[in-house]
Symmetry: C2
């Protein structure tokens, strides 16, 4: 094959890969669920005079913000503890759905493994509302530009390094498992992120607490930016929290500052992928999480930190729930939960 | 029962109603689907120097905007034409999911009736990304405040009248079917709306065209603000559009200005609820849609305008897919589609 033919073939393959409906794998068998739906947890009412600058919509009124959108599916015979899947920076609950190259997402796979599964959008993200009032106050001259919210999007070039697809855009780590041939579909998942303009803890945290109490027993599964949220939720109230799984957390609790009592006897897994030691962003975070795990266990905890390469799973990016071996990791995680956080009788 | 006891009971009922999990109705039988998932259609790359004002995230980079998030479920034996459910102003695809009082949404109900069902978030809304660049340009002093986007939220007090819960907040039309006891859950569905800052047609329109072509035969079901989108999509390209259902459209094509040729032989339903003649917002829009339907039919169209009270269904608000009789309306709509837009052999 000439270079030009190879180039053409490459383009065609990429185009095909960006259309999930044409994924080549045999389709999975039908899925039967006992229930599904969506609802909100959390939220507070805010009265504002700056909801609009348009004549067709009134500037004054009451809106609800800080609530968290939750979408769930329940297996016909649940055999495992409900999972709450919490996405990271600049993303939404889409993180856990169909992968960029059209394979099954963790949201469905875990339902098929017997887990009731709850996927959220963080507050002020996706289907969880924010407020435009700060923008409109500036647009209408009532406030100064420096009062505008710190809302940001991650460009793909810097995100490439953060997601550890390679050391820098567009270089790729050898053996990397992310489906880069479908990266165009992945970049479409990214949305503006208001979290830096929100209070600490993020309003998602009390909403997660409300959700855990409603579910009575839930595993809070975080990713990246949301890594600290389940820990903050447990510090608020342990009710309903069966275990914490922190996938590549941006932060773990700090044993030098944070009370570790909320984590006593709580099954905790901190999970990282591959190439972490080659990342100036992630290597220090891994180190701090190691320190947390050690300190938590010294204080009566049941925490564990796993690097996937240590258990023979290689090539994983920061987006390991979308990597080509994502279901292999899901299987391993199911096994960990069965062992460390089985259903309570 | 004393007045005070009645008041207490009322509060308890309201609290219960706001928790969908406790809905009193018998649960529906399990649901079996052959496939589900999510993907994006549309989108364009934008390079920007204003993605962030935070040191932790680079200001320069490339993002994708204008894409439309699509979530779908396919029945095991589809017997009907795929539906694309397109929400309206200040809302997301949540519109079609579980109702505020915890009943089944149209998204699932239509799957159970044999329709492959696709729920979208309009571009720049929900899980469909926008860009924060215009905000950051002003925040960092590179642009003037009047360049800020016209992004608005609808407060519940003005929205009350727009949604025709009553003539004005908090009055209620006699016999109104919206589950107002769960209104707190409904207000949580509302999100900021960027549509006024986007080009016309809205980028959702070419994305819908891409989706219709992929589905090969689809019924585009709009609501309110999105009412004009399916008509604009058909004007762009009829490929893949089997029929249009416009539920309480904010606008129909204007026979005085718009070419009606794209609607020749196309099954079109314009559907309105109750109390329309009591609404200064909706009565004129109904009148304009009547004029469109007449003109489209005079030009070889197959358009029909139905007011629900005319077919014996009473008390419907603007949010008729969430009203207490929402599934009765869905059944009627299924019947209309079977008659007017049956599956093509």
């Amino acid at each position: 094959m000439t270079l030009m033919l190879r180039a053409l073939f490459g383009l065609a393959a990429l185009a095909a890969a960006s259309v999930p409906a044409t994924a080549a794998e045999a389709p999975p068998p039908p899925l039967t669920i006992s229930a599904q739906g969506s609802f909100f947890v959390g939220g507070r009412d805010v009265a504002s005079e700056s909801l609009s600058t348009l004549p067709a919509y009134a500037a004054a009124g009451t809106i609800t913000v800080d609530q968290v959108y939750v979408r769930y599916q329940i297996p016909v015979s649940p055999t495992r503890t409900p999972l709450v899947l919490i996405h990271g920076c600049c993303l939404t609950g889409k993180t856990w759905e169909t992968t960029p190259d059209g394979r099954m997402g963790w949201d469905e796979y875990f339902v098929r493994q017997g887990f009731p599964t709850y996927v959220i959008d963080q507050s002020w993200r996706g289907r969880s509302a924010g407020s435009p009032a700060a923008i409109n106050a500036v647009k209408s001259g009532k406030a100064n530009p420096d009062t505008l919210p710190a809302v940001f999007s991650a460009g793909r070039e810097p995100a490439w390094t953060i997601f550890r697809f390679g050391p820098e855009f567009p270089k790729v780590f050898a053996g990397m498992q992310f489906p880069l041939e479908a990266q165009a579909e992945f970049w479409k998942q990214m949305v503006p992120d208001w979290s830096a303009s929100l209070p600490v803890p993020n309003p998602t945290v009390p909403a997660l607490s409300e959700l855990a109490k409603r579910l009575k027993s839930a595993v809070l599964v975080s990713h990246s930016q949301s890594g600290i949220y389940p820990f903050q939720t447990a510090a608020l109230d342990r009710s309903g929290i069966r275990a914490i799984v922190a996938i590549e957390p941006a932060a773990c609790p700090d044993p030098a500052k944070d009370d570790l009592a909320p984590y006593k006897d709580l099954p905790i897994l901190v999970l990282f992928g591959d190439y972490v030691d080659q990342s100036s962003r992630w290597a220090p975070r891994l180190k701090l999480c190691r320190a947390f795990v050690a300190a938590a266990n010294a204080a009566g905890g049941r925490a564990e930190l796993i690097l996937l390469p240590e258990i023979g799973i290689h090539g994983n990016s920061h987006m390991l729930m979308q990597d080509k071996n994502s279901l292999e990791i899901a299987d391993w995680l199911s096994g960990w939960l069965d062992k460390r956080a089985p259903v309570k009788g």
